[in-house]
Protein backbone atom coordinates (compact mmCIF):
# COMPACT_ATOMS: atom_id res chain seq x y z
CA UNK A 1 0.00 0.00 0.00
CA UNK A 2 1.26 3.52 -0.76
CA UNK A 3 2.21 5.66 2.23
CA UNK A 4 -0.80 7.74 3.28
CA UNK A 5 -3.26 5.48 1.46
CA UNK A 6 -6.20 4.29 3.56
CA UNK A 7 -6.58 0.63 4.30
CA UNK A 8 -9.97 -0.35 2.80
CA UNK A 9 -10.41 -2.97 5.55
CA UNK A 10 -10.13 -0.35 8.28
CA UNK A 11 -13.29 1.61 9.23
CA UNK A 12 -13.05 5.21 8.05
CA UNK A 13 -12.75 8.00 10.63
CA UNK A 14 -16.05 9.73 11.32
CA UNK A 15 -16.48 13.36 10.44
CA UNK A 16 -18.32 14.54 13.56
CA UNK A 17 -18.24 18.21 12.57
CA UNK A 18 -22.01 18.16 11.96
CA UNK A 19 -22.73 16.77 15.41
CA UNK A 20 -23.92 18.65 18.48
CA UNK A 21 -23.26 17.10 21.88
CA UNK A 22 -24.73 18.41 25.11
CA UNK A 23 -22.51 17.86 28.16
CA UNK A 24 -24.36 18.02 31.49
CA UNK A 25 -21.90 18.01 34.38
CA UNK A 26 -21.59 20.13 37.52
CA UNK A 27 -17.84 19.87 37.90
CA UNK A 28 -16.01 22.58 35.95
CA UNK A 29 -12.97 20.31 35.58
CA UNK A 30 -14.98 17.42 34.22
CA UNK A 31 -16.89 19.67 31.80
CA UNK A 32 -13.59 21.04 30.52
CA UNK A 33 -12.16 17.55 30.21
CA UNK A 34 -15.13 16.11 28.32
CA UNK A 35 -15.49 19.15 26.07
CA UNK A 36 -11.76 19.07 25.23
CA UNK A 37 -12.02 15.39 24.32
CA UNK A 38 -15.05 16.05 22.12
CA UNK A 39 -13.22 18.94 20.44
CA UNK A 40 -10.30 16.61 19.76
CA UNK A 41 -12.80 14.20 18.17
CA UNK A 42 -13.83 17.14 15.91
CA UNK A 43 -17.38 17.37 17.27
CA UNK A 44 -18.75 20.54 15.67
CA UNK A 45 -20.83 21.98 18.47
CA UNK A 46 -20.49 21.30 22.18
CA UNK A 47 -23.04 22.71 24.59
CA UNK A 48 -22.47 22.74 28.34
CA UNK A 49 -24.94 22.72 31.23
CA UNK A 50 -24.15 22.44 34.92
CA UNK A 51 -27.21 20.54 36.09
CA UNK A 52 -30.32 18.75 34.93
CA UNK A 53 -32.57 21.79 35.23
CA UNK A 54 -30.36 23.87 32.91
CA UNK A 55 -30.27 20.96 30.47
CA UNK A 56 -34.07 20.73 30.44
CA UNK A 57 -34.27 24.43 29.56
CA UNK A 58 -31.74 23.99 26.75
CA UNK A 59 -33.32 20.84 25.32
CA UNK A 60 -36.78 22.39 25.44
CA UNK A 61 -35.52 25.00 23.00
CA UNK A 62 -33.14 22.95 20.84
CA UNK A 63 -35.33 19.91 20.29
CA UNK A 64 -38.71 21.61 20.12
CA UNK A 65 -37.64 23.89 17.29
CA UNK A 66 -35.53 21.33 15.54
CA UNK A 67 -36.52 22.58 12.12
CA UNK A 68 -35.21 26.10 12.69
CA UNK A 69 -32.02 27.07 10.85
CA UNK A 70 -30.95 29.15 13.82
CA UNK A 71 -31.17 26.63 16.60
CA UNK A 72 -28.82 23.66 16.80
CA UNK A 73 -30.41 20.28 17.30
CA UNK A 74 -28.67 18.22 20.02
CA UNK A 75 -27.64 14.77 18.75
CA UNK A 76 -26.19 13.12 21.86
CA UNK A 77 -26.44 13.92 25.58
CA UNK A 78 -23.55 13.11 27.93
CA UNK A 79 -24.76 13.46 31.51
CA UNK A 80 -23.34 13.12 34.97
CA UNK A 81 -25.56 11.27 37.44
CA UNK A 82 -25.07 13.21 40.64
CA UNK A 83 -25.53 16.95 40.28
CA UNK A 84 -26.91 19.47 42.76
CA UNK A 85 -29.85 21.41 41.31
CA UNK A 86 -31.20 18.71 39.03
CA UNK A 87 -29.68 15.24 38.89
CA UNK A 88 -29.00 13.04 35.90
CA UNK A 89 -31.78 10.77 37.13
CA UNK A 90 -34.34 13.60 36.94
CA UNK A 91 -33.07 14.63 33.52
CA UNK A 92 -33.20 11.10 32.13
CA UNK A 93 -36.77 10.64 33.46
CA UNK A 94 -37.75 13.93 31.80
CA UNK A 95 -36.19 12.93 28.48
CA UNK A 96 -37.74 9.46 28.32
CA UNK A 97 -41.21 10.67 29.33
CA UNK A 98 -41.28 13.69 26.99
CA UNK A 99 -44.15 13.95 24.52
CA UNK A 100 -41.89 15.04 21.63
CA UNK A 101 -40.07 12.25 19.83
CA UNK A 102 -37.04 14.50 19.24
CA UNK A 103 -36.49 14.46 22.99
CA UNK A 104 -37.87 11.06 23.99
CA UNK A 105 -35.63 9.06 21.67
CA UNK A 106 -32.41 11.01 22.23
CA UNK A 107 -29.23 8.99 22.72
CA UNK A 108 -28.07 9.41 26.31
CA UNK A 109 -24.69 8.41 27.75
CA UNK A 110 -24.56 8.48 31.54
CA UNK A 111 -21.10 9.34 32.89
CA UNK A 112 -20.87 8.55 36.57
CA UNK A 113 -18.31 8.58 39.34
CA UNK A 114 -20.41 6.02 41.19
CA UNK A 115 -19.20 2.58 40.34
CA UNK A 116 -21.91 0.71 42.20
CA UNK A 117 -24.03 -1.76 40.30
CA UNK A 118 -27.09 0.00 41.73
CA UNK A 119 -26.32 3.25 39.91
CA UNK A 120 -25.43 1.54 36.64
CA UNK A 121 -28.65 -0.51 36.83
CA UNK A 122 -30.71 2.59 37.69
CA UNK A 123 -29.33 4.42 34.66
CA UNK A 124 -30.05 1.42 32.44
CA UNK A 125 -33.57 0.96 33.85
CA UNK A 126 -34.41 4.61 33.29
CA UNK A 127 -33.43 4.32 29.63
CA UNK A 128 -29.76 5.30 29.28
CA UNK A 129 -28.25 4.05 26.03
CA UNK A 130 -24.75 3.74 27.45
CA UNK A 131 -22.95 4.20 30.75
CA UNK A 132 -19.37 5.31 31.28
CA UNK A 133 -17.63 5.15 34.63
CA UNK A 134 -15.23 7.89 35.73
CA UNK A 135 -12.34 8.42 35.43
CA UNK A 136 -13.17 8.59 31.75
CA UNK A 137 -10.64 7.78 29.06
CA UNK A 138 -10.57 9.01 25.47
CA UNK A 139 -10.94 5.45 24.24
CA UNK A 140 -13.96 4.84 26.52
CA UNK A 141 -15.72 8.01 25.39
CA UNK A 142 -15.01 7.28 21.72
CA UNK A 143 -16.35 3.76 22.08
CA UNK A 144 -19.64 4.98 23.65
CA UNK A 145 -20.09 7.55 20.88
CA UNK A 146 -19.48 4.86 18.24
CA UNK A 147 -21.99 2.58 19.98
CA UNK A 148 -24.81 5.12 19.88
CA UNK A 149 -24.04 5.86 16.23
CA UNK A 150 -23.70 2.28 15.05
CA UNK A 151 -25.87 0.22 17.35
CA UNK A 152 -29.05 2.16 18.07
CA UNK A 153 -31.11 -0.52 19.77
CA UNK A 154 -34.89 -0.47 19.19
CA UNK A 155 -36.89 1.23 21.90
CA UNK A 156 -39.15 -0.80 24.16
CA UNK A 157 -42.39 0.67 25.42
CA UNK A 158 -44.10 -1.21 28.25
CA UNK A 159 -46.01 -0.09 31.34
CA UNK A 160 -42.89 -0.15 33.48
CA UNK A 161 -40.17 0.90 31.04
CA UNK A 162 -39.49 3.15 28.11
CA UNK A 163 -36.03 3.17 26.58
CA UNK A 164 -33.56 1.26 24.44
CA UNK A 165 -33.90 -2.52 24.51
CA UNK A 166 -31.88 -3.57 27.53
CA UNK A 167 -30.84 -6.79 25.84
CA UNK A 168 -27.87 -5.93 23.66
CA UNK A 169 -28.03 -9.15 21.68
CA UNK A 170 -30.34 -12.06 21.02
CA UNK A 171 -28.81 -15.12 22.59
CA UNK A 172 -30.25 -18.59 22.18
CA UNK A 173 -31.37 -20.07 25.50
CA UNK A 174 -30.77 -23.66 26.42
CA UNK A 175 -33.05 -23.78 29.42
CA UNK A 176 -36.76 -23.39 30.12
CA UNK A 177 -38.15 -20.21 28.54
CA UNK A 178 -39.93 -18.40 31.36
CA UNK A 179 -40.77 -15.25 29.43
CA UNK A 180 -44.43 -14.43 29.89
CA UNK A 181 -44.92 -12.18 26.86
CA UNK A 182 -46.07 -14.09 23.80
CA UNK A 183 -44.90 -13.16 20.32
CA UNK A 184 -48.38 -11.93 19.34
CA UNK A 185 -48.34 -9.52 22.28
CA UNK A 186 -45.41 -7.59 20.80
CA UNK A 187 -46.27 -4.83 18.39
CA UNK A 188 -43.38 -3.85 16.11
CA UNK A 189 -43.39 -0.20 15.02
CA UNK A 190 -41.04 1.09 12.32
CA UNK A 191 -40.64 4.87 12.44
CA UNK A 192 -39.74 6.77 9.29
Amino acid sequence: MFPGAQDPKQPQPYDLSNFTVLVVEDSTYMVTLMSSMLKAFSVGDIMECHNGKEAIEVLTVTQARSKSRFITHVDIVLMDWLMPGGSGEELLRWIRSHDKEEVRFMPVVVVSGFTTEKIVNSARDLGANETLVKPISAKGLASRICNVIEHPRPFVNVDTYFGPDRRRQESPINFEDRRKTKADEIKVVRKK
Binding site: P11, Y29, A40, S42, L82, K134, S137, C146, V189, K191
Partner: protein, 165 residues
Protein backbone atom coordinates in the same frame (compact mmCIF):
# COMPACT_ATOMS: atom_id res chain seq x y z
CA UNK B 1 -50.80 -4.87 23.25
CA UNK B 2 -48.35 -5.54 26.07
CA UNK B 3 -45.10 -4.51 24.42
CA UNK B 4 -44.27 -2.01 21.73
CA UNK B 5 -40.92 -2.48 19.98
CA UNK B 6 -40.00 0.71 18.15
CA UNK B 7 -37.40 0.63 15.38
CA UNK B 8 -36.03 4.04 14.50
CA UNK B 9 -34.15 5.15 11.42
CA UNK B 10 -30.48 5.62 12.24
CA UNK B 11 -30.42 9.41 12.08
CA UNK B 12 -26.86 9.73 13.39
CA UNK B 13 -25.45 7.48 10.69
CA UNK B 14 -27.57 9.35 8.12
CA UNK B 15 -26.17 12.62 9.40
CA UNK B 16 -22.68 11.27 8.76
CA UNK B 17 -23.73 10.39 5.25
CA UNK B 18 -22.91 6.76 5.92
CA UNK B 19 -24.71 3.48 5.93
CA UNK B 20 -23.85 0.16 7.45
CA UNK B 21 -24.58 -3.18 5.88
CA UNK B 22 -26.02 -5.90 8.11
CA UNK B 23 -22.87 -7.99 7.73
CA UNK B 24 -20.56 -5.14 8.75
CA UNK B 25 -19.48 -4.79 12.32
CA UNK B 26 -18.52 -1.14 12.07
CA UNK B 27 -19.37 1.71 9.74
CA UNK B 28 -16.55 3.92 10.94
CA UNK B 29 -14.55 4.93 13.96
CA UNK B 30 -13.41 7.96 15.90
CA UNK B 31 -10.11 8.92 14.32
CA UNK B 32 -7.33 7.11 16.26
CA UNK B 33 -5.19 10.24 15.99
CA UNK B 34 -8.01 12.25 17.61
CA UNK B 35 -8.10 9.70 20.44
CA UNK B 36 -4.34 10.16 20.90
CA UNK B 37 -4.82 13.93 20.95
CA UNK B 38 -7.57 13.55 23.58
CA UNK B 39 -5.25 11.34 25.64
CA UNK B 40 -2.62 14.07 25.57
CA UNK B 41 -5.21 16.54 26.88
CA UNK B 42 -6.10 14.15 29.70
CA UNK B 43 -2.42 13.85 30.63
CA UNK B 44 -2.15 17.64 30.70
CA UNK B 45 -5.24 17.95 32.92
CA UNK B 46 -3.92 15.30 35.29
CA UNK B 47 -1.07 17.63 36.18
CA UNK B 48 -3.54 20.29 37.30
CA UNK B 49 -5.42 17.91 39.59
CA UNK B 50 -3.34 18.18 42.81
CA UNK B 51 -3.79 21.98 42.92
CA UNK B 52 -7.51 21.63 42.18
CA UNK B 53 -7.88 18.97 44.88
CA UNK B 54 -6.11 21.28 47.36
CA UNK B 55 -8.64 24.03 46.56
CA UNK B 56 -11.63 21.72 47.05
CA UNK B 57 -10.09 20.35 50.23
CA UNK B 58 -9.73 23.87 51.65
CA UNK B 59 -13.40 24.51 50.88
CA UNK B 60 -14.38 21.16 52.41
CA UNK B 61 -12.48 22.00 55.61
CA UNK B 62 -14.23 25.38 55.80
CA UNK B 63 -17.67 23.83 55.18
CA UNK B 64 -16.96 21.28 57.88
CA UNK B 65 -15.86 23.98 60.36
CA UNK B 66 -19.05 25.93 59.61
CA UNK B 67 -21.38 22.99 60.01
CA UNK B 68 -19.91 20.80 62.73
CA UNK B 69 -21.30 22.75 65.68
CA UNK B 70 -24.58 23.67 64.04
CA UNK B 71 -27.84 22.28 65.23
CA UNK B 72 -30.25 20.46 62.96
CA UNK B 73 -31.10 23.41 60.70
CA UNK B 74 -31.87 23.84 56.98
CA UNK B 75 -28.54 25.68 56.67
CA UNK B 76 -26.74 22.61 58.02
CA UNK B 77 -28.53 20.40 55.51
CA UNK B 78 -27.32 22.70 52.70
CA UNK B 79 -23.75 22.61 53.98
CA UNK B 80 -23.96 18.85 54.30
CA UNK B 81 -25.00 18.61 50.66
CA UNK B 82 -22.08 20.82 49.71
CA UNK B 83 -19.67 18.65 51.73
CA UNK B 84 -21.00 15.59 49.89
CA UNK B 85 -20.50 17.27 46.50
CA UNK B 86 -16.97 18.40 47.41
CA UNK B 87 -16.00 14.90 48.52
CA UNK B 88 -17.41 13.54 45.26
CA UNK B 89 -15.52 16.16 43.25
CA UNK B 90 -12.26 15.39 45.06
CA UNK B 91 -12.81 11.69 44.39
CA UNK B 92 -13.31 12.29 40.65
CA UNK B 93 -10.18 14.41 40.33
CA UNK B 94 -8.11 12.04 42.43
CA UNK B 95 -9.28 9.11 40.32
CA UNK B 96 -8.42 11.02 37.15
CA UNK B 97 -4.91 11.73 38.39
CA UNK B 98 -4.51 8.13 39.61
CA UNK B 99 -4.11 9.30 43.22
CA UNK B 100 -5.36 6.09 44.80
CA UNK B 101 -5.10 7.20 48.39
CA UNK B 102 -7.11 10.41 48.02
CA UNK B 103 -9.65 8.52 45.87
CA UNK B 104 -10.00 6.01 48.71
CA UNK B 105 -10.57 8.63 51.44
CA UNK B 106 -12.79 10.90 49.33
CA UNK B 107 -15.01 8.03 48.21
CA UNK B 108 -15.27 6.74 51.77
CA UNK B 109 -16.17 10.24 53.02
CA UNK B 110 -18.69 10.83 50.21
CA UNK B 111 -20.45 7.55 50.90
CA UNK B 112 -20.40 8.19 54.63
CA UNK B 113 -21.94 11.67 54.31
CA UNK B 114 -24.50 10.31 51.85
CA UNK B 115 -25.62 7.56 54.17
CA UNK B 116 -25.75 9.25 57.58
CA UNK B 117 -27.12 12.20 59.50
CA UNK B 118 -24.20 14.36 60.53
CA UNK B 119 -25.25 15.51 63.95
CA UNK B 120 -23.77 12.90 66.25
CA UNK B 121 -20.50 13.34 68.05
CA UNK B 122 -19.33 10.00 66.67
CA UNK B 123 -19.87 11.09 63.12
CA UNK B 124 -18.01 14.31 63.77
CA UNK B 125 -14.95 12.25 64.64
CA UNK B 126 -15.30 10.16 61.47
CA UNK B 127 -15.63 13.17 59.16
CA UNK B 128 -12.70 14.87 60.86
CA UNK B 129 -10.56 11.74 60.40
CA UNK B 130 -11.27 11.69 56.67
CA UNK B 131 -10.56 15.41 56.25
CA UNK B 132 -7.30 15.10 58.23
CA UNK B 133 -6.18 12.09 56.20
CA UNK B 134 -6.81 13.81 52.87
CA UNK B 135 -5.02 16.97 54.07
CA UNK B 136 -1.92 14.95 54.98
CA UNK B 137 -1.94 13.12 51.61
CA UNK B 138 -2.33 16.37 49.68
CA UNK B 139 0.21 18.42 51.66
CA UNK B 140 2.86 15.70 51.75
CA UNK B 141 2.17 14.52 48.21
CA UNK B 142 1.98 10.86 49.21
CA UNK B 143 1.75 8.82 46.03
CA UNK B 144 2.26 5.26 47.24
CA UNK B 145 -1.08 3.95 48.54
CA UNK B 146 0.74 0.97 50.09
CA UNK B 147 3.39 2.95 52.00
CA UNK B 148 3.67 2.82 55.79
CA UNK B 149 2.25 6.34 56.15
CA UNK B 150 -0.63 5.54 53.80
CA UNK B 151 -1.47 2.43 55.80
CA UNK B 152 -1.29 4.45 59.02
CA UNK B 153 -3.77 7.00 57.65
CA UNK B 154 -6.15 4.29 56.44
CA UNK B 155 -5.90 2.68 59.88
CA UNK B 156 -6.70 6.00 61.57
CA UNK B 157 -9.88 6.36 59.50
CA UNK B 158 -10.83 2.70 60.05
CA UNK B 159 -10.43 3.05 63.82
CA UNK B 160 -12.67 6.14 63.79
CA UNK B 161 -15.34 4.32 61.77
CA UNK B 162 -15.20 1.09 63.79
CA UNK B 163 -15.18 2.85 67.16
CA UNK B 164 -18.34 4.78 66.44
CA UNK B 165 -20.28 2.49 64.12
Amino acid sequence: MKVELIHLPNRLLQKLGLSKREDEKQAGQVDPEAIEEANRLVEKMKKECPAAIAGFLDELIQVWIDMRDMGDTPQRAKLSERAFTLAHEIKDLAALSEDELTTYFAESLRDYIGETELNLEAQRVIIQAHVDAMSVVNKQGIEDAESALAEELKQMVKIAINKYS
